[in-house]
Chain length 348, copies 2
């Protein structure tokens, strides 16, 4: 039987293999810069987006989430899971895929893998925040947590801010060795450290990116000195935090979407009315970013749907230009739209 | 460049062509019966499901929705749009796809087209409701609205209840002719009618299934006599209803998920505390269905996530047994789950 679907029935699909080809064709750092630019563009028009908190399905061992948004022309959503115990079973902690559709007719225009793309957009978002919040001229970043996200953070911070020196720590030395090997190959100056205390020495930026679902204290209060920018991205769901509460009380805190971050971020440890600044307002200039050298700034990043929308928008454009996608027979398209049944019968 | 993804990176995918092959391999009516059985099975364990109202993104011309649910072992969601004006542009009013994933690790186990599958599950759900609510021995059904869903309703009602006589009406005679031709070929006794009044003559079941997004009055109060079962499935979003309010006041009303139906169904016309019965309670025997011959029963169907879950569960099983699906390279699966970046680099 041959069934040739009409062009309208086909949805452009970026597989994992396509995404890897796309990254190599563009280059990792240019792609991170491109996604960061698209995120900034979309954050500037923040108020034009639907901002729905993600829809989470929690279980004892993890969470599955849907993250939808729309700018009135395009609708996007991401499916993403978070299962910290997966690593021990040889599986990814986070897997994801996403979709863009036309608001005007509801037809999808892109289906894409987003495990890799989420890693890229998470790095890009952190780098955008740091561009407005980190001390000027920062070159050295400490990274506590050297898992799947760590290299993307490092590369995004080099691409956007010029960070070239890294100090790594992970409770699992094998993770640090993996991360170190990957990043030395990319020309970073990398020091593998035995303790978190050693890792943060001389660092102008501290990235915390650990995966365990618990109230952890990766950094204690005495470890964080004046003038540092904290990029805290591992605390991203209820019951999962990384920083001691006292650090938060000494920091100026910047978030993506307060309604979501108060539930999922480091600030779930604080009162519900603790003052925070929305990152998009810093980008538009409506609110100040870093005001003085001694200030401790904290980006309490949990990941928001608009970042995924931006990443999908970038991939939609680039995968089209470079022809790095396939056609997926995802939509039924009968000749007469009222005759879905007739299409089914004629296919016999 | 050759990239051979690992088996864990591949997600079974049922395309539109696969779904059509599956329908023909099983047979339309046996498949409708199978889906109806799975829906009944899942409605019996209703309280074990997560029941999240769907997450809707409304625009002037339509809606895009995500419908998630979980039974604790499997998680499912559907993407679906509703754009009544699409038909005039040669597009489907409703297109959909869906996913099943393991709750234990968040990995998808099935991605499937759901434009056809939604049509099948909507027919199956109506038939399940009618099995408990329609007058015993009913053979004749009036169908007001003869669009893409109509044939699936008719076939489901024959498969589950033995309906063999149909009386059709649509404001567009071409839609009625299309539906009539399709169903005569399937051996139904079909009468095409010029008015809704003519269509309902002698019908024990009246199905309303029209698409315009407005408060319409497909049926007025004087048209609905004692003992009829109303299967009202076209009123399914805010501002979109089909029945005159007075009909509702004379009927015993059965719904899927009251929280959702009060916003989207016919009963959006009634007070928020108007009594309704949940269909799952009728199926388990906790609440009565039809009690007497003169009673007017109304199934105010809007479509709920558990029905899609049931349909996906059925397709997951059958597409596996019959080998009617493909492998989609949707998930990144590095050898070392912490080394997503290394996987990317090695693919170069």
């Amino acid at each position: 039987m041959t069934l040739v679907p009409s062009p309208r029935a086909l949805v452009p699909f970026v597989s994992v293999a396509d995404m890897m080809r796309l990254v190599h064709a563009i280059g990792v750092e240019p792609m991170l810069t491109g996604i960061a630019g698209t995120i900034e563009e979309d954050f500037r028009r923040w108020e034009g987006f639907e901002r729905t908190p993600r829809v989470a399905s929690h279980s004892d061992v993890g969470v599955i989430e849907l993250m939808p948004t729309s700018d009135g022309e395009l609708y996007g959503f991401k499916y993403v899971n978070g299962h910290p115990k997966n690593t021990r079973e040889g599986l990814q902690t986070v897997t994801a895929f996403g979709l863009l559709a036309n608001v005007s007719n509801g037809y999808p225009v892109l289906l894409s893998e987003m495990t890799l793309l989420t890693a890229l957009r998470t790095g890009a978002t952190s780098a955008v925040a740091a561009k407005y919040l980190a001390p000027k001229g920062a070159r050295t970043m400490a990274m506590i947590g050297n898992g799947a996200q760590s290299e993307f953070q490092a590369l995004a911070f080099r691409a956007v801010l010029g960070i070239d020196t890294l100090r790594l720590y992970d409770i699992d030395p094998a993770a640090t060795q993996k991360c170190r090997a990957n990043l030395v190959e990319q020309g970073f100056h990398v020091t593998a450290c035995d303790t978190p205390e050693a890792a943060i020495e001389g660092a102008e930026i501290i990235t915390t990116c650990t995966a365990d679902k618990q109230y952890a204290t990766i950094l204690t209060d005495n470890m964080v000195g004046a003038g540092v920018h904290l990029n805290a991205i591992g605390g991203d769901c209820p019951g999962k935090t990384e920083l001691h509460r006292d650090i938060l009380l000494r920091s100026d805190i910047f978030v993506e979407h307060p309604e979501q971050t108060r539930v999922e971020g480091e600030i779930q440890q604080l009162d519900a009315d603790h003052p925070v600044t929305e990152l998009w307002q810093v980008i538009t200039g409506a609110a100040p970013g870093r005001r003085e050298a001694a200030q401790i700034t904290l980006f309490d990043g949990v990941g928001f749907a608009i970042e995924d929308f931006s990443a999908l928008r970038y991939v939609h454009k680039k995968s089209g230009e470079l022809g790095m996608r396939q056609d997926l027979d995802l939509l039924a398209d009968p000749d007469d739209p009222r005759d879905l049944y007739g299409m089914l019968m004629r296919s016999r």
